[in-house]
């Protein structure tokens, strides 16, 4: 640093306790950030290219792995795109079960983000409690799908498993416990005066700018735009389900936190509705049920576990394009799948919410204190592996 320079450049990451798998290059004058330049790509794995070398079924577990806290939505969006290509739609029961898993996963994903947001402003208790609460959701997901994080639950034409016995009671028990603990979390972290002091009025994103920059998800809704893919282009069981969209006008870090809290409450409502209204019937599309040999078919209907016949592995998909869009934990997630009639995708394009919100780094982290950098960064719930793909 020569004596003429007024500012210093700080590399906030990738080896920094709060940066995640990315780097923000900050230009700092004293304790004020003048400019922030996000530098991404540290966890780029080329999922889109890899998908061109795998069969349609092998792609399912792979796409989940780009965003572990939010695996179900990636799973769902890919399968929706694939189903559009195949020209099928899952039976109603499977649609409800997809919604169930998606909402369980949404709660887990939001808690993941809130926990990291908490520890970024110094509340290690919020971090531990959020991750502890997330555990309930992981347990429920495990009971439903057999896996805690990467479920591979949603498959073309339906879901892989029916709900286990006594699942509704389990869910009710865990949800009650969950709601009680959420009230504690609210007292200790969300309504804590220090939390409010740190987050209110920090990183304000006005409505017009939010629309102009094309941001998505809770970040957009916290700026007062009522946009939710579940409402705009309903998928799975959302057309039949009654829920509210959480919207806040302020557009600051605290509003983004509150929107997530409200969405968790809505998700709990949706889970209860799904379990109440769950229709009877098959969990797999009849076209695939027909393909199963009689003994396997019997097994599937009796146990509720879907076993695929070998023909699935080399399944050829008709020529065309398919688009699946869902409201993932971090916002609108779009999968664009192009098929040339082979057993492998010709091209898979993924538009992830994290990447679409990335632009906010240079817009929001400007003329703020260094201490506000983590408070803004983690309020966006930005997940580097998801953005890098």
């Amino acid at each position: 640093m020569s004596s003429k320079e007024k500012t210093i450049t700080i590399f906030y990451g990738p080896q920094h306790p709060a940066s995640g798998h990315m780097r923000i290059i900050l230009e700092v004058d004293g304790d004020v950030v003048i400019k922030a330049d996000p530098d991404i790509g540290y966890v780029h794995r080329g999922i889109e290219k890899l998908a061109e070398h795998k069969t349609y079924f092998q792609v399912i577990p792979m796409v989940e792995r780009q965003c572990l806290p939010d695996a179900a939505h990636h799973n769902l969006a890919y399968v929706l795109a694939l189903e559009e290509l195949l020209g099928i739609e899952a039976p109603e029961r499977a649609q409800y079960l997809r919604t169930l898993l998606a909402e369980i996963n949404r709660i887990a994903s939001h808690l993941y983000g809130m926990g990291l947001h908490g520890v970024s402003i110094g509340s290690s208790t919020a971090y531990m409690w959020c991750f502890g609460l997330r555990e309930y959701m992981l347990i429920l997901a495990e009971k439903l799908t057999g896996a805690r994080i990467t479920y591979s639950y949603i498959i073309p034409g339906g879901v892989r498993r029916d709900i286990p016995q006594g699942f509704s009671q389990d869910v009710e028990r865990y949800l009650r416990l969950f709601e009680r603990k959420m009230r504690d979390l609210d007292k200790l972290f969300i309504s804590n005066p220090v939390t409010k002091a740190r987050l209110e009025g920090v990183g304000v994103l006005p409505k017009e700018e939010a629309i102009k920059l094309g941001v998505v998800g809770p970040v957009l809704r916290a700026s007062g735009v009522e946009y939710d893919v579940r409402r705009v282009r309903p998928y799975a069981a959302y057309p039949w389900i009654d829920f509210e969209i959480a919207v806040k006008k302020e557009g600051d870090s605290y509003a983004r936190l509150l929107v997530r809290v409200k969405e968790i409450e809505e998700s709990i409502k949706i889970i209860r509705q799904v379990l109440k209204d769950l229709p009877d019937g098959s969990i797999l599309h009849e076209r695939y049920m027909k393909l199963l040999p009689p003994r396997l078919k019997e097994y599937v209907t009796n146990t509720g576990l879907v076993k695929f016949p070998g023909v699935f592995a080399t399944m050829k998909v008709p020529k065309g394009e398919g688009i699946g869009s869902v409201e993932a934990g971090r916002g609108e997630l779009i999968y664009h799948l192009i098929s040339n009639g082979e057993s492998k995708p010709y091209r898979l394009k993924i538009s992830t919410p994290s990447f679409r919100n990335l632009i906010l780094f240079s817009h929001l982290i400007k003329d703020v204190k260094v201490a506000d950098v983590p408070a803004i960064y983690l309020s966006l719930d930005y997940f580097p592996p998801e953005a890098d793909r």
Binding site: G122, N192, R198
Partner: protein, 332 residues
Amino acid sequence: MNILSQILEIILNRSVIAAVIVPGVLTALVLVILIIWVERKIAARVQMRIGPLYVTRRLGGILQLVADAIRFLVSEPIVPATTDKLFYVMMPILLLLLSLLPVAVVPASQSLIVIKTEYGLLAFIALAAITPMVIMLAGWASNNKFSYIGGLREGFMLLSYEVYLFMSLLAIAILYGTLDFIRIINSQEGFWGILLNPIAALSFFIAMLTSTSRFPFEIPDAESEIVMGPFTEYNSIMYGLVMGANYFRLYVLSLVFTDVFLGGWLLPFKIPIPNFVITIAKTFIVMIVAVFLRAVYPRYRIDQALVIGWEKLFPLASLSVLISVLLKGVGI
């Protein structure tokens, strides 16, 4: 024989005992090890975890900190090439010494005091004011951007908290009309300072949290912002010393808090326990309260902490001085 008795005389001198055992080095060391364990255990309890456990499992992992200290001792100290080596190496040692130094004028009982002086309060203030400078120097000597910002933050905080730290002590000095710790404690017979002037106690306590960078004022070494603040480049035993120094400072300030606000070794009832044990026990409770806040609060931003310091606590401390003057006026 003559030499031996002379040596014994020196060793058994009360000042030496005060410096080495109570309230000096040994007590400080034991309390610091205990308080770090208690801090981690309390935080773990609040956060639905277990905390340190595997070292001496039966005792609840109480020796974990000893194990950590040994690890700090045996790991290789690395001095980065870009640092100002002399200052870089000197700072942790200086910091540790200076953090504990103010204890020289603070008593643990009627006779257990290293330097008996009528100007104890003043001497304490003078000695306690050196440490932040060393922290700033450590930040500067590291030649790291995070350390640099951390050092500056420490400087800003210093300007804010020192004022109300001293004013709350001024309130006490006015109230009891003396700067001598022992006379202050003896004046609290039956009625502790915290009851007489709670506002001074509050502002002193908050100043204590700020100066030892406890939550919600853990600003100079905020991990998610500037890694470890002024101590980012420190490692192995040097980091161990730096970390210990912070707790030593907490111990000294808690001891002062006990002496001036909680009546030192005085209790409302008589129990057959040595005086210094009572003082140390009270000190430990004050320390526990200070470290417990970690589990409750996030941290403030630096400008907010400065605003709190100058706009809330400075008037509050002034008010405490006024209260003392008024109390003195009505003749207590």
